[in-house]
């Protein structure tokens, strides 16, 4: 029997319509006073309403929380469920975390949550990478890579994940698991117009890699892991040139270190030269010191999830000073085709407007073995106007 841990953050998304950019802390009370209405349970219902029809022949048990944190939604879906956590009164992040602990104890195969970045962060803080997580998008902030495109897509993903079918032509599972950033931004700063983003970690999440369909058009997509390995192999070859390499944070850059048999900090910025790790988890000063005596130096970074930031989010250690010292012509950006597909533009927000301007235009992004894509880079000012 397959088991899904399911929880709803009942207040998620309430701040959006009333312009509060989130419901963390006091904002919730404000949101209610401004007339905000709950939206999360409706979105969760939409995601799950057909699931029992789609998985008719499969044993599926939902483990959930009482009342509006899950039970109320499941009651109307025809799905089999057990309540493993009871809520009392007002819900909070602590309830999400406690529910996830119960899910883990019950050996669920996946945690399905309905909420935004804050909920994703709470779920991730408990389950880490032990099991995959998938978000039904309902929050105001959804910068993390763990969300389905819309509630209906959740049903498709779950059906493919649990129905054991294989693509008859391709003989491989229709669903893969990939790493996705769990990101949260500082709501108070965001309300003041500043986008301060922090990467908390890399969760496992299901995605459909093999056939990306778009209006009668079948494009042959690369598998995420295969692409990463291809990027790693290519990088390990061109990194034999004697230059010093600053390697940014993330799972894609980690694969580069893997290809060189080096241990990389996932969230940190490391320095590599001639196939050796010079220093790991550096800060800005470390980098400036190391760069002092180096002739040939390069930076390898990967954009953050669908947001597309290559500098200014998640790897602030590589500051504008560091970038200027290395030279923008020595910045190498790497990303898998799947990630690039989800990332319409690349963004740079180093805090140094002149430097950001130098980046704007088109950039070559390495996306496979001896393969690149042209992507447009926008400065941070444009980022804000796009929101």
């Amino acid at each position: 029997m397959k088991k899904i841990g399911f929880l709803v953050n009942p207040i998620a998304g309430m701040g959006g319509a009333v312009g509060l950019k989130g419901t963390d802390g006091d904002a919730f009370v404000k949101a209610v006073n401004l007339g905000a209405r709950p939206i999360a349970s409706e979105r969760a219902k939409r995601a799950l309403q057909d699931l029992h029809l789609r998985l008719r022949d499969d044993d599926l048990l939902m483990l959930t929380c009482s009342d509006r944190m899950g039970e109320d939604v499941l009651k109307e879906t025809g799905l089999l469920y057990n309540i493993v956590y009871d809520i009392h009164g007002k819900t909070s992040a602590a309830d999400t975390r406690e529910a996830c602990k119960r899910f883990l104890a019950s050996d669920v195969d996946l945690v399905l949550f309905c909420g935004g970045d804050g909920t994703a962060r709470d779920v991730y803080s408990v389950i880490r990478t032990d099991i995959p997580m998938l978000g039904i998008p309902a929050g105001v902030k959804m910068y993390s890579g763990v969300f389905a495109i819309d509630p209906v897509a959740v049903c498709d993903l779950l059906e493919d994940l649990f129905s054991h079918q294989k693509d008859s032509d391709l003989e491989r599972p229709r669903i893969k698991i990939r790493d996705a950033e769990v990101i949260d931004i500082d709501e108070n700063a965001y309300r003041d117009g500043t986008l301060k983003m922090e990467v908390f970690g890399y969760a496992k999440t299901p995605y459909k890699p093999t056939l990306v369909q778009g209006r009668k058009f079948v494009f042959y997509g690369e598998d995420e892991e295969v692409s990463k390995k291809a990027i790693g192999r290519f990088a390990s070859e061109f990194m034999r040139d004697g230059s010093l390499y600053i390697l940014g944070a993330g799972t894609t850059t980690k694969v580069v270190a893997d290809a060189l048999n080096l241990k990389k900090t996932l969230l940190g910025v490391d320095v590599i030269k001639d196939g050796r790790l010079i220093k790991s988890d550096t800060n800005e000063n470390d980098l400036l010191n190391i760069l002092k005596d180096e002739k040939s130096k390069k930076i390898i970074v990967s954009p953050i999830g669908a947001q597309g930031f290559i500098f200014g989010r998640g790897n602030q250690q590589i500051s504008s000073k560091v970038i200027r010292k290395v030279g923008i012509e020595n910045v190498i950006v790497i990303a898998t085709p799947y990630k690039l597909e989800q990332t319409p533009h690349l963004f740079v927000d180093t805090g140094d407007a002149d430097l950001d301007r130098l980046f704007s235009g088109c950039m070559s992004v390495v996306c496979g073995y001896r393969m690149a894509q042209r992507k447009e880079v926008l400065g941070a000012r444009k980022v804000r106007s796009l929101k």
């Binding site: 058009f217 079948v218 042959y220 290519f234 070859e237 034999r240 001896r370 393969m371 042209r374």
Partner: protein
């Protein structure tokens, strides 16, 4: 002013033009990798008929076209030379734009110009089956058509990315009685080796060539046929340029610049070699001849001029070409026919010697040009041919800016009626501008075959 300049059936060329006769220095020899000595006819006879091997190595200027082949050419040849009046008007250019339209053949491209004679010579030498590879599907369709006319069996290894993008190409091959397989397959050692390493590979022309060559080499009744690259293939295609020369005479004009798309190089070689011959002999020293290739696979603009294998597994002899390395798997762009790691040795030599030039384009700008063309001239072109339309439009706009009345000629090598998925992707904004990270590759290039 005529729109179509048409020749009579009797004016189908009676001989192919062999540019090897006019090269200032001979072509570098093809090398047998086992002996590292120049390949001999014996090295090739396991997979090719002797008449084609002779043509491959010949330096005679003119090679007669068998009457049986000319008879079949009559089904669609001579092809029209168009004057693109509507495109000129749209661009408001003083330039005169001409194009040869090869999409009128039954398979819809220039490819049967060589598929028919190749099938013919194999039939003459008692071969029962021909194996081959196909990228975009144009060559596979053409050989399926050619072999059918001479009652031969045909096995086509189709690059997986194209096989999935263009299912109807497979149907066409089946309609002509050929067997079409998604390559890499598990039928050959080279296919199995690739699948084992990467089951999700998109495939490449190089991989498919390995499979087809292996199939031919391991079956006595089977020969191999290549749709591009080789000297004899480019020579068969010169019917295009020879007709065009006559048609330009009728129009009382001569090109200042010639464009063609280049994957392996056969359509453009065929269109431009008779003109390049004029240039080599000093009769038309100023004609510019420019190959158009994709940024995702920029062989002539970013490759290395060196000896390399023609296929992925290293089963072919070594040829001196511009190459991105035989193990390079190009990005899955829609111009599948241009996804080849190298180019025809003669075309490469002419480029290296400065007789020809090359440019490279991104996918989206190429489709912009294709749409402009379809809206003015009406023809939905193959993504491959769209590359030289992009070059033509750029050139015509330059002429407009500089007020020059130049004559532009390009080879419109095939229609895009089976490439509508690519057009859909373009309309949906889903075309990716792939490119080749040349500097980084240069940094890492140590793996090329060293001679």
């Amino acid at each position: 002013m005529k729109t179509k300049i048409i020749l009579d059936e009797e004016e189908i060329p009676k001989e192919w033009y062999n540019i090897q006769a006019d090269l200032h220095t001979p072509l570098d020899p093809v090398i047998n990798p086992a002996t590292m000595k120049p390949a001999t006819p014996d090295d090739l006879k396991a997979i090719f008929p002797m008449e084609l091997i002779k043509q491959e190595m010949s330096t005679e200027r003119w090679i007669p076209i068998p009457e049986e082949v000319r008879d079949i050419y009559r089904l669609w040849r001579p092809t029209p030379l168009y004057r693109a009046h509507r495109l000129e008007e749209y661009l408001k250019t003083p330039a005169k734009i001409y194009y040869k339209w090869e999409g009128v053949s039954p398979p819809g491209s220039h490819k049967p110009n060589t598929a028919v004679p190749q099938a013919y010579y194999n039939m003459k030498e008692g071969i029962e089956r021909i194996s081959t590879e196909t990228g975009a599907g144009q060559w596979g369709s053409a050989l399926a058509f050619g072999t059918r006319l001479f009652d031969l069996d045909c096995t086509v290894y189709m690059v997986r990315a194209s096989y999935e993008q263009k299912p109807y190409r497979k149907s066409i091959m089946q309609a002509w009685g050929a067997e079409c397989l998604s390559s890499p397959t598990d039928r050959t050692n080279s296919g199995r080796a690739v699948l084992e390493k990467d089951p999700d590979t998109t495939g490449s022309l190089g991989i498919s060539i390995s499979e087809a060559v292996e199939d031919a080499a391991t079956h006595d009744n089977t020969n191999y046929a290549l749709g591009s690259v080789l000297n004899h293939v480019c020579m068969h295609q010169t019917v295009v340029g020879l007709e065009a020369e006559k048609q330009f005479e009728l129009a009382d004009d001569y090109p200042d610049v010639i464009f063609g798309c280049v994957g392996g190089g056969s359509n453009f070689s065929g269109a431009c070699f008779p003109f390049a011959g004029d240039k080599l002999r000093g009769e038309k020293p100023d004609v510019r001849i420019v190959s158009c290739e994709p940024m995702a696979c920029p062989t002539l603009t970013k490759g290395l001029y060196a000896y390399d294998f023609g296929d992925q597994a290293g089963l072919t002899p070594l040829m001196k070409m511009f190459t991105l390395g035989h193990d390079f798997v190009p990005a899955p762009i829609h111009a599948g026919g241009l996804r080849y790691h190298a180019d025809a040795p003669i075309l490469c030599k002419l480029t290296h010697d400065g007789v020809m030039d090359a440019v490279a384009y991104h996918q989206n700008e190429v489709f912009d040009a294709a749409i402009t063309f379809s809206k003015t001239e009406g023809i939905i072109v193959a993504p491959e041919a769209a590359h030289c339309i992009k070059a033509t439009i750029d050139e015509a706009l330059r002429c407009k800016k500089e007020g020059k009345e130049e004559t532009i000629f390009f080879n419109n090598s095939g229609h895009g009626n089976f490439d509508l998925a690519a057009y859909d992707a373009y309309f949906d904004g889903k075309l990716i501008d792939y490119e080749y990270p040349a500097e980084l590759v240069k940094q890492s290039l140590a793996g090329l075959s060293k001679i």
